[in-house]
């Protein structure tokens, strides 16, 4: 699986007084099994970008290729693509509509053309993998708490068994525990099923902890594209566009300023701990932990 975006531009409300160019000349190649984070200030075009990946929005100009096939070809089956690239919207719980959670999760696989039985099997598997307790499966989705609804909605997309999973701020409005659970779930899907994951997030800590590649959007263009370490090394430029690096990055820079040669690219607590310990042991011989 690979997705290629070639010079994609997108303009909202084209040819009206409210014209907005939301994407400008986006070139991107997403390979099989990558775990990608997308960050950017509000209105930078993240949601617009990811809606292109499954053909929900048609680019004003430019091309998108899924496995080498042009998705804008007139005989390309967009409906199939939507099953392969699972898109979880911001606040996905607003899309629940069935009488029970289980029936709602079956909606996706049924649309993909699976038989009733297959759909139910897939729904079982999906609900189990998101860790929603069985007590809730046959209740109305509207009786669930926010976090539980979120899981049900993610299960609704997972049940289609997509090859790639795209999530638009899946942790918005959740408490720290709910946030960690959802992100751990996503990381597990990536680890165990080698699923390609694209995660839109506002939290630098989250993306630094989970993703392998980080894309920074600014005013509809890609500003940086690299590993979290590479991207956060530009923390000054990130601040200029209204973003920031994770807290530890700042700490590491402070340490270096004070003459402690800790690596500047640490972006997570673990990495920071490692490099600080190394710096100390180089200076004082071995250090007890």
């Amino acid at each position: 699986m690979s997705i290629i975006l070639d010079k994609v531009n997108y303009v909202y409300s084209e040819k009206t007084a409210y014209e907005i160019q939301a994407l400008k000349n986006i070139n991107l190649k997403i390979d099989d099994g990558e775990f990608i984070g997308v960050i950017g200030h509000t209105g930078s075009g993240k949601s617009t970008l990811i809606q292109h990946l499954n053909g929900l929005i048609k680019a004003s100009s430019g091309g998108i290729y899924y496995n080498g096939q042009d998705i804008y070809d007139s005989d390309y089956k967009l409906k199939e693509l939507r099953g392969k690239v699972g898109l979880v919207f911001q606040y996905p719980e607003h899309q629940l509509f069935e009488a029970t959670v289980f029936a709602d999760v079956c909606f996706g696989p049924r649309n993909r053309g699976f038989s009733r039985k297959d759909s139910e099997l897939k729904a079982f598997a999906a609900l189990r993998s998101v860790g929603l307790s069985e007590d809730f499966w046959y209740r109305s989705p509207f009786e669930l708490s926010g976090g539980q609804k979120r899981r049900a909605a993610i299960a609704g997309v997972l049940a289609m068994e997509p090859e790639a999973l795209v999530l638009d701020e899946p942790t918005a409005g959740l408490d720290p525990k709910g946030r960690d659970e959802i992100l751990d779930l996503v990381a597990k899907l990536h680890r165990e099923r080698q699923m390609t994951v694209i995660l839109v997030s506002h939290s630098m800590e989250d993306v630094a902890k989970y993703v392998q590649r980080l894309i920074v959007m600014n005013r509809g263009s890609i500003l940086y594209d690299g590993t979290p370490g590479e991207v956060f090394a530009h923390y000054r430029e990130l601040e200029e566009v209204g973003l920031a690096a994770p807290q530890v990055t700042y700490l590491m820079h402070e340490l270096r300023k004070r003459g402690i040669p800790a690596a500047g690219t640490a972006t997570t607590l673990d990495e920071a701990k490692q490099s600080i310990l190394q710096a100390f042991s180089a200076k004082h011989g071995s250090v007890q932990r």
């Binding site: 007084a17 939507r82 919207f89 509509f97 909606f107 649309n111």
Partner: protein
């Protein structure tokens, strides 16, 4: 997708027409509509045309924008023209089979078509240059005297502005839910009528729920800020007539006098 529909269709621009008080514009629109049904001769027609296009020019709204509104009345327009053309009695000009076109019919059809087109163009100037909020403000203030006979003017105006405010929100919401269901493989286009109607369920259920939730939230928020209806309520931006409004009233008066004079003497 759905957002491309323009409802209320305010067109932001910096023009004298935009700056006028909404009450002035409401009054001018009424006078204009009245004048459309007063003219009978080519001279009257010329005066109305002159007035209309002068205002269109002043408003700085692209002409193409106004013409868009005409699409909605194409069918009505055709029916009117055909009926007037064939069913007006009088001196036959052309006749074939059982149909005949009379001179009076031709004239009537032409004038009716022009009236309808001008009606839409003229009233779209009002909606294109006035924000929905200004419009309801203007209505509320113009209709204030009706309060005396216990018409709840303020409440009606408030309901109107809330409804207008909610239209784009609901369209946006529909768009979002539609996309979310499309992402789950929903299909809103293919199939027969029954299938299409069924396909709407995943769209309508979440939409209704969100509409009720929003209405509830809004009611709570209004109450939390001590909203208690129109009595003693002041406005942050009260409507005030300015110099240009005076000029506008004079011009509109002049225009109306001209149309009436032309009707009498030409």
């Amino acid at each position: 997708m759905l957002r491309d529909i323009t409802i209320g269709q305010y067109y932001p621009a910096d023009s004298v027409i935009h700056k006028l008080d909404p009450r002035t514009k409401l009054m001018a629109t009424m006078v204009y509509i009245l004048s459309l049904f007063l003219f009978r001769s080519l001279a009257g027609f010329a005066a109305v045309t002159l007035g209309l296009f002068l205002v269109i020019l002043l408003s700085k709204v692209p002409f193409g924008y106004m013409v868009k509104g005409l699409k909605a009345i194409v069918v009505i327009l055709l029916i009117t023209v055909i009926f007037n053309l064939f069913l007006t009695p009088g001196e036959p000009l052309i006749s074939f089979w059982k149909l005949r076109i009379t001179e009076e019919g031709l004239k009537n059809a032409g004038f009716m078509a022009v009236r309808l087109i001008y009606l839409i163009l003229g009233s779209s100037i009002l909606t294109l240059t006035t924000t929905p909020n200004q419009l309801t403000d203007g209505l509320e203030k113009s209709l204030r005297p009706l309060n005396k006979i216990h018409v709840p003017v303020h409440e009606i105006a408030m309901m109107m502005s809330i409804a207008l405010r909610f239209i784009p929100i609901l369209i946006e919401e529909t768009d979002k839910i539609m996309k979310a269901q499309l992402a789950r493989g929903a299909d809103f286009e293919s199939g027969n009528l029954v299938k299409k109607a069924k396909a709407m369920v995943p769209l309508l259920v979440p939409l209704f729920i969100s509409a009720f939730r929003r209405a509830n939230d809004l009611a709570l928020a209004m109450e939390a800020r001590c909203y208690h209806g129109g009595d003693g309520r002041t406005k942050m931006k009260p409507l005030k007539y300015k110099g240009i409004d005076g000029i506008a009233y004079l011009l509109v008066g002049g225009y109306f006098a001209a149309v009436i004079l032309l009707r009498r003497f030409l």
